[in-house]
């Protein structure tokens, strides 16, 4: 196995594109190193991108924020601007792993690991986050939702890697929230999860809502019916029941060691309902 420290985006692209065997990009390494040690992958090349200029920066851009691919969960959590605008994305990222893991783990890494149970991904999908991808053909912007293609697989081509994640600007009275279910209180992987991002009108009516579920399908599921159930309502019991029912219907989970189909379908709705209530409280506090 060869280990290279890339000095620029172009350098990283060149190294990755030139490798005929399996290559892995190392940002925080909290998934890659576990996979290496367990023998799950034996890559021919590992490229460390965190020394590339800009990879550890959070920059305000077009009213939103651009988050470098090597920004850790701890750094994201300490950024007051991102916290205020996208508290759901931040809380999702901060749920990953332990304090030590938080010092290393990244949004981009969580996305590229392509686990259906990734915590930050439903929150980013609800947020309409966009990944900037560098590759042999230059840069392209891809919705976060379009990056994972199945468990452990992404749509990134050979030589491509994510350089940053963009969280867009928001209208007034907007906020988001993320909840996951785990049997413990920390240090665990979601049995199912829900990210909700919404905007309220001046009268408290929901004017926009996006709901995404984790760990209920091979990739994160955006549930338009769930968002639609909220829009035009004041988020009363009826709307929340419709949201939960839409989530349960959209969830296509499996029985496994972490949970059953029945459990995941039901709890996905419960979490979406609870996350909606939290997001709405935050949105109202915005006003």
């Amino acid at each position: 196995m060869r280990f290279e420290v890339a000095t620029s985006v172009a350098d990283a692209v060149r190294l990755l594109a030139a490798e005929p065997g399996t290559a892995r990009v190392l940002a925080g390494g909290t998934d890659v190193l576990v996979q290496l040690r367990s023998g799950m992958v034996e890559p021919a090349l590992v490229v460390d991108i965190k020394r590339i200029a800009g990879m550890r920066d959070i920059v305000a851009e077009a009213g939103g924020f651009r988050i470098g691919a090597a920004v850790s969960g701890a750094e994201l959590g300490e950024h007051a601007g991102v916290r205020a605008m996208w508290p759901g994305v931040v809380e999702a990222m901060e749920l990953i792993g332990s304090t030590q893991v938080q010092g290393r783990a990244t949004l981009a890494g969580n996305l590229c690991n392509a686990s259906p149970a990734a915590d930050s991904v439903p929150a980013m999908v609800a947020a309409e986050a966009v990944a900037r991808v560098a590759g042999p053909d230059g840069e392209r912007d891809v919705p976060v939702a379009a990056i994972p293609s199945g468990p452990g697989r992404t749509t990134l081509a050979r030589g491509e890697f994510i350089t940053s994640i963009f969280l867009p600007a928001r209208p007034a009275r907007s906020s988001d929230a993320y909840l996951r279910f785990i049997p413990r209180t920390e240090m665990d992987i979601a049995v199912c999860s829900a990210g909700v991002s919404l905007t309220l009108g001046a009268d408290g009516t929901c004017t926009a809502a996006r709901v995404a579920l984790g760990a209920v399908a091979p990739t994160v599921v955006l549930v338009p019916e769930a968002g639609a159930a909220l829009v035009g309502t004041t988020l009363g019991t009826e709307a929340l029941d419709a949201l939960a029912a839409a989530c349960a219907a959209a969830a296509k989970p499996i029985d496994d060691k972490r949970g059953t189909v029945a459990f995941r379908k039901k709890v996905a709705g419960v979490l979406a309902r609870r996350a909606t209530i939290i997001a709405a409280e935050r949105a109202r506090a915005e006003a």
Binding site: P183, R184, D188, D241, K257, G259, K266, V270
Partner: protein
């Protein structure tokens, strides 16, 4: 052995009962303590083990030639390298360490490689070709007992087992007394329930590790993390065909055992690789290997039937226990059957137990082995009867509690026991009357463990500078170096800081039984006190010599030799330090020692109280408040005693709520890691409160009872009773993981489930 009645008069202690800083703490938290994996030797090789990917398979052939020829490889071993020990139990241990004609479970060792690096060893494992014939497998206890089930090992059935079950059933046992039928006829209500519990692992943080070295004359050294170096020596010397004296086993510091390190898994393999290669060989297990191939506890399937009068008197109890302990015969169900009704004074009681073999790893002891499951079943039914009659669960237990003079269901008659005192203390505790909110429930359970004494050997040396060295042979898994040093200090009348207790290798001290059965503070403590008394006798002789009086005229009081009375002569007392300083002039070094097969360990009871809250929408359980009441006889170092009580409760909470061995349809373990084998993390638990009761054990000079095991027994039922009361539905299967609780709630309330 006659019981020592020294405790009849209430004794005032100076050292015992205080809380000195633990002697091993700083080294452990700074990383200086030497654990099994920290040991190295010049020229050392690293070994890795190849494990079966199949739950059950005949091994037709193993071709190791490519691995042997691989770069850096110095030795490869398979079962063919080992002989067959004469003793059947030792043979089972060997076959568990290295599969012979069949791989009996997913993860069963089939070959091992020693090489100059871990990378070389891992690469060589891939070159070993094993020709498997995959066989049908069975991992569930009820399925394994059915006639026609795949047979794990033929010819292992005891004669007491009937013919209506499969050949996997190795043991049958039965305990009890009285007329069951008449007892149930007297009841106003009888409840019969079925229960299941999953296998749980001890979950020690330190994986098994060892280093083996052979000298050219055939003598061998083995360093390992273990609960018993003498046990390791006896097993390994028999497996290796050596005389016990030719193998020296030195225990490392130990990162948890809980019973799981009372046998060997890798040590014979390391020894054989060292013998073949002529180099020291080290093996360190990975966490996945620990979970797949070391011993979890038994899983169980049980039926419990109890009758009660409407005023809360239990009229009869009957339990049928079916345990599986993996791919080998296992007697753990017997402990379960003996312990099931131990807390109750019953006229009619019967327990029956069956053990079945399955395609799972060979079970190892786990803290009160066998008792938590059977007592979970009994205490659940008692709780349901209390609910049925609207009776207070502590009052009912007090009404039926075993006490001095009670003939236990397993045959003994109890002497002084602390159960009623624990129950009364729990009843009076503010926890028991604290208000509960909707969705919350409170659970109660009793727990019991036998405790054990056994072969024990201690040497105590009085050093010329007035310090004391205690040499003992039991690895310290729960604070025993502190408690043993404190008992030596107490008896000798010196301060605790003057005593250092060392756990030594098998060549330095006579035989000691393994650290198990909560025996060490009791038995090693007893031997230490006797060794100190022997040393005091020598010191009195030396003082007599110095004073020129008869040795009968000298007594030891308050840490010094004194003339026994005015007639003996007028001499100032001589302290231990003063006598030790001149020992060379009075006859040489001063030592005391004691060897005993300690009896009179004294059974132990505890009562746990727990409050939980169940989220009706997710089935998640939160433990809100937890209080442990336990009889310690005499708490030598109360902080350690509290730690034992809290640790048992924490492990029991894990067992009750989330820990389980999950096998797929392919018979493979699905969760061999701490991510999906869920022990509780600190934030899952409230601070566990403890109340130590001290009902002296008449079998120990200071009244000590073992405290290490009883505390894991009550949590299973206490949590199940609390969850069942909080959720409004009776849970009868462990662990009560959120999907199980939610499914039970939805089954009980179909209308709500449909929403």
């Amino acid at each position: 052995m006659a019981l020592d009645k020294q405790t009849a008069a209430k004794r005032e202690f100076k050292v015992v009962g205080t809380r000195p800083l633990r002697p091993d703490g700083v080294d452990k938290v700074t990383g200086k303590a030497l654990y099994g994996a920290d040991l190295t030797a010049p020229g050392m090789l690293v070994a890795r083990i190849l494990r079966s990917p199949h739950a059950h398979a005949r091994i037709r052939a193993i071709d190791t030639s490519a691995a042997e020829a691989a770069p850096g490889v110095k030795a490869v071993v398979t079962a063919a390298d080992f002989g067959a020990p004469a003793d059947e139990a030792v043979r089972d241990v060997l076959v568990n360490c290295m599969a012979h004609d069949k791989a009996l479970y997913d993860g069963h060792a089939v070959a091992a490689v020693a090489a100059i690096s871990e990378a070389a060893a891992k690469a060589a494992l891939k070159l070993i070709k094993v020709d498997y014939e995959v066989l049908p497998h069975v991992t569930d206890v009820d399925a394994a007992m059915k006639p026609g089930a795949p047979v794990i090992q033929p010819g292992r059935q005891a004669e007491t087992v009937g013919t209506e079950v499969s050949e996997n059933v190795t043991h049958y046992c039965e305990f009890g007394h009285g007329d069951l039928e008449a007892g149930f006829a007297k009841a106003d209500h009888v409840i019969e329930r079925s229960f299941k519990t999953e296998a749980t692992h001890q979950g020690y943080i330190e994986p098994h590790a060892c280093l083996a070295s052979f000298a050219s004359d055939g003598k061998a050294d083995l360093w390992c993390c273990t609960q018993g170096q003498y046990m390791v020596r006896n097993l390994c010397s028999q497996i290796m065909g050596m005389e016990a004296s030719q193998l020296r086993v030195t225990p490392s510091e130990i990162g948890g055992g809980f019973g799981g390190k009372t046998t060997v898994f890798i040590e014979p393999v390391a020894l054989m690789l060292a013998k073949k290669s002529g180099r020291p060989v080290k093996i360190v297990m990975s966490r996945s290997e620990v979970l797949r191939a070391t011993g979890p506890t038994c899983s169980s399937s049980m039926g419990v039937k109890i009758g009660m009068t409407k005023d809360g008197r239990i009229t009869a109890g009957h339990a049928k226990l079916r345990y599986q302990g993996g791919a080998f015969p296992c007697g753990t169900v017997e402990f379960g059957a003996m312990a099931a009704f131990a807390a109750y004074d019953l006229d009619a009681v019967r327990t029956e137990g069956w053990n079945a073999m399955t395609n799972r790893p060979k079970q190892a002891a786990y803290r009160a082995p066998g008792a938590p499951m059977s007592i979970y079943g009994v205490e659940s039914v008692v709780d349901e009867l209390c609910q049925h009659f609207g009776l207070d669960p502590l009052d009912v237990r007090l009404k039926n509690a075993a006490k001095a003079g009670t003939k236990a269901s397993y045959g003994v008659t109890f002497t002084d026991i602390g159960l009623s005192a624990c129950l009364a203390k729990a009843k009076a505790h503010p926890h028991y009357t604290a208000p509960l909110k909707p969705g919350q429930g409170r659970g109660v359970s009793c727990g019991f463990w036998f405790n054990f004494g056994g072969d024990t050997c201690v040497t105590l040396n009085v050093n010329s500078d007035g310090t004391v060295s205690v040499t003992e042979g039991n690895p310290d898994i729960g604070g025993s170096r502190a408690s043993i040093g404190m008992m030596a200090a107490e008896e000798l009348g010196v301060t605790f800081d003057k005593v250092r207790t060392q756990v030594v290798d098998t060549a330095s001290l006579g035989y000691n039984e393994v650290t198990d059965g909560s025996r060490v503070t009791f038995a090693v403590g007893l031997a230490t006190i006797k060794a100190a008394q022997a040393a005091k006798k020598v010191m009195c002789q030396r003082a007599a010599k110095i004073w020129g009086i008869d040795e009968e005229a000298v007594v030891w009081e308050d840490g010094a030799a004194r003339p026994s009375g005015p007639n003996a002569g007028q001499f100032p007392p001589m302290t231990l330090a003063e006598i030790a300083a001149v020992s060379s002039q009075t006859g040489g070094p001063i030592a005391g020692h004691h060897e005993v097969n300690a009896d009179g360990a004294g059974v132990s009871f505890g009562v746990h109280l727990v409050d939980v809250e169940v989220d009706p929408e997710t089935g998640a359980t939160k433990v809100l408040r937890y209080t442990v009441f336990q009889d310690a006889g005499k708490a030598v170092h109360p902080s350690y005693v509290e730690g034992q009580m809290q640790g048992g409760a924490a492990q029991g909470i894990g067992w009750a709520l989330n820990e389980e061995y999950i096998y797929g349809d392919d018979g493979k373990l699905q969760n061999p890691g701490f991510l999906d084998y869920r022990v509780p993390v600190a934030s899952d638990l409230p601070m566990i409160d403890t109340v130590i009761l001290e009902i002296p054990n008449p079998g120990h000079p200071y009244g000590v009872r073992g405290v290490g095991e009883t505390s894991i027994v009550p949590p299973l039922a206490a949590i199940a009773n609390a969850v069942s009361r909080a959720a409004g539905v009776r849970l009868t299967s462990l662990p009560m993981s959120p999907p199980r609780i939610l499914a039970a709630l939805d089954a009980a309330h179909p209308a709500a489930a449909a929403e």
